[in-house]
Symmetry: C2
Subunit: 205 residues, 2 copies
């Protein structure tokens, strides 16, 4: 999985960003497998074919790394799911887009999503920052459900609780999906979207 | 929240069991709030009004405690949800029972459920034991959905993925429900059951 270390001549801004993403994903995978404390900076350096000093060029320490990983995960979700969804006016179309995009990227952010459980390890300030970003996503989902309710398309459900349940279901994929298992990412995306749409939408028959 | 320490003359088997449950819940709450490493045996002793040696009468150490907490959580779920559900023959009735019972006890096992994320901190043997117990519960849910499918009551969903999604939704309550928030446990139980039933069952109209 590890690639050869970059030569300094190649280190454009974009490569630097790609390198960081690679470090975050590798570190997240290690932390989820071994636990935060059992994962050393040495382990992470080895996983991405860097020396320990080379790794410190990108990150300053484990606590800081954890925050960077979560920021990276939120950046990814915002740019691939939330931002494009904001421009979709029809609430049902918007909901379908959110579900398919988020469920579909779950394999990509698998370890990173699970790391959300490491929130207590962050500083108070960093923790509040991440919680606020998650809350904005949830609020957007809630607004979308409010739109559906207004159109009479939502089942007889409390909008707040329904949004939390939909959110939990989609985030849940990260916890149970095994990219090496017998289910494909496409199947899981499709089925989970259907599950949540079935839960939320009034049947049109 | 802490109660007075028990006098040794009171320590019947039942009191001992109750005392252990109290320690597990208090410890789980601390670990979820502060993180596993930041929680000391001293903190736990203080939370349940015991001296540190007094606490060691009940538990042998933090790693062992974590396993005991998870075993306690699985015992509770099995005796209050799974075992009584096994005697319900009709799959729809059985599903409704599982959802309402499990969602309804979520406040009780809140911290404990979240601790499932600490699985990597267990020894390999203990981890496998807990994973196997969770898998038996999931398998029972899957069987119930198979029964619904056979009766034509299940939507056009993959049984395995549907069971995983239902499981994730119900476990998700533990992560987002705030017992001190504006939503009552009854509302959350009711709404989450409706959400999952809507997702799974063909509409009867």
């Amino acid at each position: 999985m590890a690639t050869a270390p970059l030569k300094s001549s190649e280190s454009s801004r974009e490569l630097e960003t790609g390198r960081k993403a690679q470090i975050y994903r590798a570190a997240a995978e290690l932390i989820v497998q071994k636990g935060l404390d059992a994962t050393s900076m040495n382990d992470i350096a080895k996983a991405v074919d860097l020396t320990k000093p080379g790794l410190y060029h990108y990150i300053t320490g484990k606590k800081d790394l954890l925050f960077s990983i979560m920021q990276f995960a939120m950046d990814t979700v915002e740019s691939l799911v939330v931002e494009p969804a904001r421009s979709i006016k029809d609430p049902e179309e918007c909901l379908r887009f959110i579900l398919e995009r988020h469920a579909g990227m779950t394999e990509y952010v698998r370890e990173i999503t699970i790391l959300a459980d490491e929130l207590p390890a962050l500083t108070q300030e960093h923790r509040e920052h991440i919680v606020a970003r998650k809350r904005r996503y949830l609020e957007f989902l809630r607004e979308t459900l409010r739109g559906l309710k207004y159109q009479g398309k939502l089942r007889d459900l409390d909008v707040d609780i329904a949004a939390l349940n939909a959110f939990a279901t989609i985030i849940g994929i990260s916890r149970w999906f095994d990219p090496l298992g017998k289910l494909t990412a496409e199947q899981v995306t499709q089925e989970t979207s259907q599950f949540i749409l079935g839960a939320l939408l009034v049947d049109r028959t």
